[in-house]
Every structure is written in structure tokens, then in C-alpha cells.
Amino acid sequence: MRYLVRRIVLFILALWAISILIFASLRILPGDIATVMAGINSSPEQVAGLRLRLGLNRPLPAQYGSWLKDLVHGDFGFSMLTGRSISEQVAARASVTFPLVGLGIVLALVIGLTMGCLAVMARSTRLRSFCHMLALVAGSIPVLWGGLLLILLFSRGTGLIQIFPSQGFPDTGWRRPAEALQTMALPAATLGLVVGASITRYTRSALNDIAGSGWIDMARSCGMTRNQALMRVGLRLTLPQLVSVVGLTFAEMITGAMVVENLFALPGLGSGLITDIGNRDLIAVQSELFMLAAFFLVIGLIVDLLHRLLDPRLKESTVTGRGRS
């Protein structure tokens, strides 16, 4: 309970610290949106006029204060550049990124759990080590290159087997799910394969540890075969650890997601964020960065609590050091 309270207090403090960090680092950077909007053939008067209209002349603490106040009220403001509400803009982009990451995770779990179990339970030593090596190699592939290989293999237009589109997201969005899902196929596969490789390795090593533990001996002495024991007892025992691994992987996946979004020209959070930074659309960038950071902090919090909930052995383990993970 004390851990929980401390964790939540720190969560709020971290959010606040991040808001300051983001705001400050964005003000240090050279260039502002007015000069970008005005462009190469602009006069100083034009830039001054724009700055006045956009409210860029206000003192920084006042700008930070009003931003923070709006944040607390759940108002993320309006993009200076596109003139749209930032929450709306983020929601539109999230409708690309979340399905992408979600599909990727599902694929990764399917691949990872299957291969991980195979790498431990398969009867043939060759198959076991093959799975392990495959996971090692796949986990060493840069996402960008993996995506390229998939494009060269499966993309419509370029690929060897031309079945999936490799660019963009339909304007109709998820109203035509088949089309939308198709554009997700290659990007999600890219993510899924790379992340699946690391999940394979986790599953394998966790299962290996469990296999050598007394619990499996216990289960087997009750009459289960080794694989039955591993499936029914072993997997359940590794669950808490897997949950935290997946949580952390999810956070790291965003790097891959950004690369993949750029490579496949998907209008998601990652590619949008990079465009906004380039355009110095500061209100949009700071709100988006903040939302992302908050999102990942929440994920971290949930994973931690879930881990504790799933694994009663872990009640006070981080403090007493008795736990195994």
C-alpha cells in the first residue's frame, strides 16, 4: 500500500517535471512558427504581424501557466498551424498508431509465445535451437530494414509477391475496415516480427527457469507430462514476468512505430509529431509529447500494479529482496 501511494505521488510529480522539461526544451530551440509560416520571401513586418496574431509575444511564464492550467482542465489547446483542436488531431493520429501497435503486439505475442514454447518444449533439439537462433537473428534486425525487406517481398507495386499496399492510410479511415486493415498489414508485421523475436527470448528463458524449478517437479509428480506441466503450470508462473516485459516492450515499440509510420507513410502519432516539431508548432508539440509521456507513465504504473497483483510472492519483494524476478 505504501508502495502504491509513493508510486502515485511520484507519478504526478513526474508528470509535472516532464511538463516543465518539455516546455523549457521547446523554448530553447531556434526558430518559431511565425518565421516558418511566413517562409523564405517574407518581410519582417509580415513575421511581426503573424507573431502578434498567434500570441507569441507573451512572456514565457505566462505561456507556461496558461498551458498548464488548460492541461489540468483536460484542454490541450489548438494547433497554431492547422487550427484544429489538438485532442482531435491526436485522436485522429492515434486511430492509426494504436491499431498499428495493437496489431503488432498481438502478432508479436502469437509469434513470441509459440516460438518461445517451442524453443523449450519441442522434442527435437534441432527445432529448439532453431527457434532460439531465429529469435536471436530476428531480434537483431533494425526495424527500418525489416520493413524494407517486407516491402521488397510483399508490397503492391514493388514486391516479389504483390499483395499488400505499402503506402498511406485511406482517407475513409476505419469506416472501410478492410481497406484500412490492409494498409496495416505490412507495418504491423514489421513490428510484430521484430518484437515477437524479443518476446520469444523472454518466454524461452522464463520457461527454462521454471522448468528447472520445484513447481514443475511437483506437477510432474502429480502425473503430468513435462510439456503438460510447462503449459499448465509453467506458463502461469511466468505470466507476471511476461506482463511486465510486454509493458516495457510496448514502450520501446513506439520507436519502431515511428520508423514504421515514416517508412509506410502512415499519418500516425510518430510521423505527426516529427512534422509538428519541424514546423515549430509548439503548442501542438508540447501537448503531444506530454500526452505520450503521460500515456507511457500510466502504462508503466498499470504494469507494475498488475505485476504485483498477479504475483502474490512479490508483495514486498523489491524491498526485502527475496523475490526471484
Partner: protein, 580 residues
């Protein structure tokens, strides 16, 4: 080390198959016990892999079956055309937001100006069907077409014209400073507008074809960042920033001539070249402009389905030298750089379509002459000049090249290579455009800068000593003033050419090349402008009529076979050319 070996064998199980200790546990005794129950139930992973295979096949099948031509028809004229572009507008606020992408999408399509220009960059009638110029060339009287309307139904009259220009000047909207010598504008009656200048200005009509001459509805209320109300043949149906803009034919369009031939135009923006090329290959888009010449190679070969064109443009890749900078204020350094650069080499590596240019005026603008012979490629001369200043390859001058990341890294690498032998150590600083705007454009804190000056008729930047070049020449200013004051176009052309020659001689910058736009279209697409299409795209005449699919023909690429279109239209495709 022996225990480590044992451990590894246990872990990997690959190294020594005969090793009976191989197993999942770190405890060999335990593993040996595990060997016993060999016969168990069928392993669940077999089931899982079978399931996986089924899912995979299903997905592949779904991928195949959902392919449909985006055009929506298989014969006759298509109701919609998708066009791929590279640079996307961030918003639709054409009065505040800079960038050629907005001009390209909106001018002549959604918004119209008093006058417009054609494919050869000449001024043509638009909202005004004619105009009179007073004897002293300071009073312009425009006659508007009758029955002009905006797409929302509002009447467009002379008051709207005067209001639009007055707003522009009052709020310093984009391109306001281009409207030089402006005194006043007023509506004489419903159909006549009078523009008064303080002194003659030869570019005035051309300037009015751009943003400065656009006419807005003074009564309409809309958010200009996300919507647009104009009088053009198209209206904005929907806009997704950085992604797509859908234009729909304006049913209330006032004119007959420029009525839209295609009902819906999808303008799609691709940040990534490969994505754009793949979209074209899979025929999700029917046109792609621009495409780099290197990427166009496969399309050039496939004449049955595609046609590749290169069009003239006003893009000038300007390698500016900071004329007031500590190192580049020495003219010999600037001249040496100009002699050292091998322009043809740069152009060839980019696919060989761009044009070398020796001075600040591109081929589509008045005052153009071929002055590439002023500074021919001559590394020996460059070396001598640098030696005079006191630098050699062993004791090089370090210069910083700052340029925006939108141009890729190649040009910087090439320039660095070319300048190395003459004793210049070029440090590359690729920055975001916003940083470039701040450091180079606003604060003039740079040695060398590289940027694409895409606008036409922009010679005046060489007459402004406060511009980021820091170039100040009284001769050039006087010549430009003469050119702008001239009544006859030939005189303007003559003086501009002289001014350009003078600028080039003074070497305040090097002009790497005049970028030519490579456009790829599907066979069957007609009316797509090829010249200047990055700033001016009169979309009303674009149409697409895919013919019936061929009944027989060579097997399509790999497994997936798309309908093939006949190439009979290829020969009749209207190809505009100016200036080579």
C-alpha cells in the same frame, strides 16, 4: 571454463546433440529424469502452427480480393482522379501560410485572382476579362466578368476585389511586399476596379496572378485554416493536414471555359518517395509530381502504362555565400567556390534532367539569358584564387554549410567533395527548416547556405541589402529600378538580363541548377500541366479515361495481375514545352 562449456551446451542444445544433459534445466540430474515420458499427447504447438497457417492464408486471400482500381470505372471518363505530390500544405490559410504547396492546390482551383497565368508564365485574364493601363503606367483599370459568384452563392463584385487587396496591405499578409509601389485600390462600380500605383511597376500584373491578387468573399465567415471559400472551379471537400486534400467540382462555377472536367480530385501528399512510387505502381494515384529522375527510371521503360515528362520550373537551388561574413566577404573565395563546383556532375547524379544556370534568373522568367559561361568549371583557377587568399588543400579554409533537411544529404556531401581539392574544408550542418529560418534567414549567422528559391519573378531579393545574402550593389539596384519602371516588356527583359549578369559576376552566390519537374502519369490521363506545376496547377482540365482492359497480353508482374490499359492515348498526350 569447463563449467561454462557445460552451461552453454545445456542452454543451446545445438552444439553437442549426443550430450544427454541437453535440456531446459540448469540441473543435469533433473534433466535426465525429464527424458522418460517421450510419448505424450500431441503437442499443442502443432495445433497453434496449423492455426497460424490458416490465418496467414486467410490474410493473404483478403489482401488479394480487396484490390480494386481506385478510379472506380473501367471504361469512359473517370469521375475521380488521384494526384500524388511531395510537399503538403500544413493548413489552408493562403493569406498567412507560406509554401508553394498552397499555391499549387488552391490558386486557380479554389481561389481565383484578378488575373492568372498560363503554362508559359504569361499573364492571362481570369476574374477580370480585360484591363487598361494608363499612359504613365500607374493606373490599372480592371473589367470584371459578369455574374461572378463564390462557391457559397455570394456574388463577387468589385468591392470584394478592393477589399481583398486592402486587407492584404493592411495586415501584411503573405506576398504583400510583392505589391510594390502600391497606392490605393477602389471599386469604381460593380464591375470595375481601379488600382493606383505611386510609380510604374513592370511586375504588377504577374504579381496579381499570385496570392496578392486573390479575391476573397468579404461576407463569408469560415475558418481559413481548415476551409476555403473562393470562386474557382473546385471547392474544398475535405482536408487532412499533411495527408490529403479532396477537391470537388464547384456546381455554381461562374465560367464556362474552366469548368472542371473531373468531379473529384484527390490530392495526396507523400512524405516518403518510395511510398509515392508504390502508390503510382499500384495505380492508387494516376499522377505523381514531382518524382526524382532516378526514381522515374522504371516508369520511363514501361511506356505502355506510363509517360514520364519533364517540365520547366522556377526552382533555383541557391548556394548563398554570406557576403558580409568574415570568411566569405572576400570575393576571391566566392569566385573560387563558383569555379570549383562541377554543376554537370551534380545534375547527372540527380538523373540528368535539371538545367545548369549561371545566374539568378531561371528560363521561365523575363531577363533570362544563358550565362553559364561566366564561371565555367575550372578547379585550377579556383585553386589559384584560394592560394592567393592563403589557403591550400594542406591548410584549408573551414566553412560551414547550413541547409534544411528537406533537400537530403547528398548535395552537401557532393559539395564537400568538390571543394576539398581547392583548399576548403566544408562542414555540413543539416538543420530543420525552422532552424534555418532563424539562423540563416533572420540572423544571417552562416557561411554558406543552400536553399531552393522556388518562386518566379523574385529578382528583387538581390536588390535588398538586408536580405540574408547581404549582397549590396548599387549598379544592380539601379538596373532593377530601370527594369521595373520600363513601359515595354522588351526593355524590362533587357535591363533584368543586365542586372542578372552583374549579380552573377559579383558571385554573391552560386546557382547549382534550375530544378526541372519530372512528372509521371498513367497513360490515359490528360490535361495535367507539366510546366511550373509545383506552384501553379490549373486542375480544371485534368481528366482520366482508362480504356478497356486488354484481353490478352504478357503476364503481369509476379502473382498479382492488374488490368492493363491500352497505350493508344500516349501519342495524343498534350505535351507542353518551353525553354527546352
Amino acid at each position: 571454463m569447463s563449467s561454462s562449456k557445460l552451461k552453454t551446451d545445456v542452454q543451446e542444445g545445438t552444439v553437442r546433440h549426443e550430450d544427454t544433459t541437453a535440456g531446459p534445466s540448469t540441473d543435469p540430474v533433473l534433466n535426465q529424469r525429464l527424458k522418460a515420458p517421450r510419448k505424450g499427447n500431441p503437442l499443442p504447438w502443432q495445433l497453434v502452427s496449423a492455426l497460424l497457417a490458416v490465418v496467414l492464408i486467410a490474410v493473404l486471400w483478403a489482401g488479394r480480393s480487396y484490390q480494386q482500381p481506385t478510379a472506380g470505372v473501367t471504361a469512359g471518363i473517370s469521375k475521380s482522379v488521384s494526384i500524388g505530390f511531395r510537399l503538403a500544405p500544413a493548413n489552408l490559410d493562403i493569406r498567412n501560410q507560406s509554401g508553394a504547396a498552397l499555391d499549387q492546390a488552391l490558386i486557380g482551383n479554389v481561389y481565383e485572382g484578378l488575373v492568372s497565368r498560363d503554362q508559359t508564365n504569361r499573364v492571362m485574364p481570369s476574374l477580370a476579362n480585360s484591363w487598361e493601363i494608363s499612359e504613365d503606367a500607374t493606373t490599372y483599370t480592371f473589367h470584371l466578368n459578369p455574374n461572378l459568384t463564390f462557391s457559397n452563392g455570394d456574388k463577387l463584385d468589385a468591392e470584394d476585389v478592393a477589399w481583398s487587396i486592402n486587407q492584404l496591405m493592411e495586415h501584411h499578409y503573405h506576398d504583400a511586399d510583392q505589391l510594390q509601389n502600391f497606392q490605393s485600390v477602389k471599386a469604381i462600380d460593380k464591375d470595375h476596379v481601379q488600382l493606383q500605383l505611386t510609380a510604374p511597376y513592370a511586375n504588377i500584373l504577374w504579381v496579381l496572378t499570385g496570392r496578392a491578387g486573390l479575391v476573397f468573399d468579404r461576407k463569408a465567415q469560415y475558418d481559413p485554416k481548415t476551409q476555403a471559400v473562393g470562386s474557382g472551379p473546385y471547392t474544398v471537400e475535405s482536408f487532412t493536414p499533411n495527408s490529403s486534400l479532396v477537391l470537388k467540382a464547384n456546381t455554381r462555377y461562374w465560367g464556362r471555359q474552366h469548368r472542371a472536367k473531373t468531379e473529384t480530385l484527390h490530392l495526396r501528399y507523400f512524405a516518403d518517395d518510395n511510398a509515392a512510387v508504390n502508390a503510382l505502381k499500384s495505380q492508387d494515384i494516376q499522377v505523381l509530381a514531382p518524382i526524382t529522375a532516378n526514381l522515374a527510371a522504371p516508369f520511363t521503360k514501361d511506356t505502355e502504362h506510363y509517360s514520364v515528362h519533364s517540365g520547366a520550373g522556377s526552382d533555383k537551388y541557391v548556394l548563398a555565400f554570406n557576403n558580409k561574413g568574415s570568411k566569405t566577404s572576400d570575393m576571391r573565395v566566392r569566385q573560387a567556390i563558383r569555379y570549383a563546383i562541377n554543376h554537370q556532375d551534380l545534375i547527372d547524379s540527380r538523373g540528368g534532367v535539371d538545367q545548369p544556370m549561371g545566374g539568378p534568373i531561371p528560363s521561365v522568367d523575363p531577363g533570362y539569358r544563358d550565362i553559364t559561361n561566366l564561371y565555367p568549371h575550372n578547379p585550377e583557377r579556383a585553386k589559384r584564387l584560394m592560394a592567393q587568399v592563403g589557403y591550400t588543400p594542406d591548410k584549408p579554409l573551414t566553412l560551414r554549410l547550413t541547409y534544411p533537411n528537406t533537400y537530403g544529404t547528398e548535395l552537401g556531401d557532393q559539395l564537400r567533395s568538390q571543394l576539398k581539392p581547392i583548399g576548403i574544408n566544408l562542414q555540413l550542418q543539416v538543420v530543420e527548416f525552422s532552424t534555418w529560418m532563424q539562423d540563416v534567414y533572420t540572423n544571417h549567422n552562416y557561411d554558406l547556405s543552400l536553399v531552393d528559391h522556388s518562386e518566379s519573378h523574385d529578382f528583387s531579393q538581390w536588390t535588398n541589402p538586408n536580405y540574408y545574402y547581404g549582397y549590396d550593389s548599387k549598379v544592380v539596384r539601379d538596373l532593377y529600378a530601370k527594369a521595373m519602371a520600363a513601359r515595354k516588356a522588351e526593355d524590362t527583359d533587357h535591363y533584368l538580363a543586365q542586372a542578372a549578369q552583374q549579380v552573377s559576376q559579383d558571385a554573391p552566390a552560386d546557382w547549382l541548377f534550375n530544378y526541372r519537374i519530372t512528372t509521371v502519369t498513367l497513360t490515359g490521363l490528360r490535361g495535367f500541366p507539366l510546366n511550373l506545376n509545383q506552384t501553379l496547377l490549373n486542375a480544371w482540365k485534368i481528366s482520366y479515361s482508362p480504356d478497356k482492359p486488354k484481353t490478352s497480353g504478357p503476364a503481369a508482374r509476379a502473382l498479382y495481375d492488374r488490368p492493363k490499359w491500352r497505350s493508344s492515348d500516349h501519342a495524343t498526350f498534350l505535351q507542353y514545352t518551353i525553354a527546352g
